[in-house]
């Protein structure tokens, strides 16, 4: 069943008749798109959100134990020796693993690996209705703490905006915005909040995980454009995005 925006607004304001309300509530159970539409029309949510957004004003402090290998509890006796021997063995193995560990990957490498798993089918059936994108961008911008300039992203030449998704890397919000080119191939633009004081970096082109990429950083945010293959020419988009996301 189709519901008009008027009907949905009447429901949200408590003015829909009972039969309509029942029909909407039943339809939502199986229709995530209708759910998104209804949520986007809800005028109560942004007001309540604005009131609670700054509560608490400061990030609350949490006392966590240091990350450490916990020692097994032992009560002496022969088991104790065994436990000591075991923990020595664990330490030896851990030390070897630590010494031979790969260098930790940066966010750009990880984002490229993730993006390399995308195929045209991944994005073909994404719901990129205006209501779905409204909700996704609202969430993404809230997490990121800066606008994503959707108006610009919507009109990048030759690219169709498909989705904005909230990810996270080492506790930092990482937003992935996915596009389809005219062949339906997936491209992505990622933004990570690195925090104040993060170094500014000029645009750097690299092939990562078999994909052409461009990364740069400015004013506490890192940016990355990821092509659909190693040969993707990113220059045109890059000109627009570096100008748009200049701090």
């Amino acid at each position: 069943m189709k519901f008009s925006d008027e009907t949905l607004r009447a429901y949200l304001e408590g003015n829909a008749d009972a039969a309509e309300a029942v029909a909407i509530e039943a339809a939502i159970e199986t229709d995530p798109e209708l759910e998104q539409r209804l949520m986007a029309l809800d005028s109560f949510a942004p007001v309540v959100k604005a009131v609670f957004d700054d509560i608490p004003a400061e990030v609350p402090q949490v006392n966590l134990p240091e990350a450490a290998v916990s020692q097994p509890q032992t009560s002496g006796g022969p088991w104790r020796l065994l436990a000591v021997a075991a923990s020595v063995a664990v330490l030896a193995v851990s030390a070897t693993i630590w010494a031979t560990r790969p260098q930790p990957m940066g966010w750009a490498e990880q984002a490229a690996i993730y993006q390399s798993l995308y195929t045209p089918d991944t994005i073909a059936s994404l719901d990129n209705s205006s209501a779905a994108l409204d909700a996704q961008f609202a969430l993404a911008e809230a997490q990121l703490g800066r606008p994503l300039n959707r108006a610009t992203l919507e009109v990048l030449p030759g690219l169709e905006l498909k989705r904005a998704q909230v990810l996270s890397f080492k506790g930092k919000p990482l937003i992935q915005v996915v596009f389809a080119d005219d062949q339906g191939q997936p491209l992505a633009f990622c933004v990570i909040r690195q925090g104040e004081g993060a170094p500014t970096k000029d645009v750097k082109l690299a092939a990562l995980s078999g994909l052409a990429t461009a990364t740069w950083a400015q004013d506490g945010y890192g940016y990355m454009l990821i092509g659909s293959n190693e040969q993707t020419d990113l220059n045109q988009e890059l000109d627009i995005l570096t100008a748009t996301f200049a701090g």
């Binding site: 159970e29 949520m39 007001v47």
Partner: protein, 178 residues
């Protein structure tokens, strides 16, 4: 993402990223900021103890919320409610951000009070959907109730919030428009 991040690192990261949200949810559940402090601390310790249960690093926020709520329901609620008899619903002055516009503050305080005066089930639902942006089905999964229940709780909450909103939202819009 997070191929190389251990579950413990992921949980520590999530705690850092979401501590404000968990605290806010603790406030919505308990109605008291000191209880919210305790709930946040207990939630984070419990999450860290259980980091090995984490199979996906996605949506650790809702996992933290679930832990917070279960600690509230199973360990804190009876004690807190007995102590206070009823939830304190007076907005604690320091919780409402102080802006230059005092009318906006009064409006914010009224909305805050109205939300905090909602019955607990409506309050937690409003917090998850309106404030934290969870979809109805995500909130339903988190609170372990049908989607229809989420929707009817929100409808009831909207009815109660309607008066203060219609009154003051119009003022706020008019003021911000000038």
């Amino acid at each position: 993402m997070g191929v190389q991040i251990s579950s413990e690192q992921a949980v520590r990261g999530a705690i850092q990223t979401h501590s404000k949200r968990v605290w806010r949810f603790g406030l919505a559940l308990s109605g008291a900021s000191d209880v919210a402090d305790d709930l946040l601390q207990s939630t984070c310790l419990r999450a860290l103890e259980r980091h090995h249960q984490v199979t996906s690093h996605d949506r650790l926020d809702s996992w933290l919320m679930t832990i917070c709520r279960s600690i509230w329901l199973n360990e804190v609620r009876a004690r807190s409610v007995r102590k206070a008899q009823a939830l304190s619903v007076t907005p604690e002055a320091e919780l409402i951000s102080v802006g230059p516009d005092s009318e906006t503050n009064i409006f914010a305080a009224e909305v805050f009070t109205q939300v905090m005066q909602l019955p607990e089930a409506q309050r937690e639902t409003v917090m998850l959907v309106f404030v934290e942006g969870y979809s109805y089905r995500e909130a339903a999964a988190l609170l372990d109730v049908p989607i229809g229940t989420i929707m009817s709780r929100l409808s009831n909450a909207r009815q109660k919030l309607k008066n203060v909103m219609q009154h003051d939202a119009a003022d706020a819009v008019r003021r911000s428009g000038k």
